[in-house]
Amino acid sequence: MEISIDVLIFYLVSLVVVGSACIVAFSRNIVHSAFSLLGTFGGVAGLYVFLGADFVAAVQVLIYVGGILVLILFAVMLTHRISDIDITNRTVGRIPGLVAVAVFLGILVYAIGETDWVKVKEVAYAPTTATIGNLFLGDYLLPFQIAAVVLLVALIGAITLSRKEIKE
């Protein structure tokens, strides 16, 4: 009954992920929720590292933590007066919500256990950045280009939507 250190760390990181996700879900304070997301994102990044996905982990940290989270915090600040920050994160219907989600989760976990997933014999740990970079310009060139279109249009859209002056 030995528990190796990496297993322990996995549980620890998972705990961080799930715990902070729970705060996101259950906190009555939107700022708390937003900040707890940091824990979840960071924890997931940690799990990515465990899974040998160094590039993805980096992207996760950069974009999620550095980008999305900041954006969300901005939005929180812009849409709330500081004084009523405590009462704006209303949650309604906890019990039916919890019941539904618990059943849901039960089914998911059951299915995860039942399913015969594809497994490779050897699990490899190797740096992936170069591979991914090559693929982006090779096999995955088209999605990569489309991503550019997505970002462009998101940019235009975000600007348009937040710039609301009346024309004419």
Binding site: S4, A100, W117, E122, V123, G157
Partner: protein, 110 residues
């Protein structure tokens, strides 16, 4: 018993999937119960993260190549775009309704 212990002591694909599942369920819980538009967006981010985690886990345990990781990268990218647009909409809502409580913004209904 030993089997269960073994299940706990050796971290495998299923563990990551369960973490992903919990994240997914929490995300669903949030979108069901939260009334604050930004909070609901947080729930959506959790859902996207759970999926991303699944892809990377499968990439690691099931395929041995980086296809899943690339998928996750795209998820993150799209999550960012969606967040940008979503927050822009939230701001617009706030300008028009002076609140972002989705119960207060129900002019469209039967």
């Amino acid at each position: 018993m030993a089997a269960y212990v073994a299940m706990l002591t050796k971290v495998g694909l299923e563990h990551y999937l369960v973490v992903g599942g919990i994240l997914f369920a929490l995300g669903i819980y949030i979108v069901l119960t939260r009334r604050n538009a930004i909070s609901i967006l947080l729930g959506v981010e959790l859902i996207l993260n759970s999926a991303g985690l699944n892809y990377v886990a499968f990439s690691h345990f099931s395929t041995g190549n980086v296809d899943g990781q690339i998928y996750t990268v795209f998820i993150i990218m799209l999550a960012a775009s969606e967040a940008a647009i979503g927050l822009a909409i939230v701001l617009a809502i706030y300008q028009l309704f002076a609140t972002i409580d989705v119960e207060a913004t129900e002019t469209l209904k039967d």
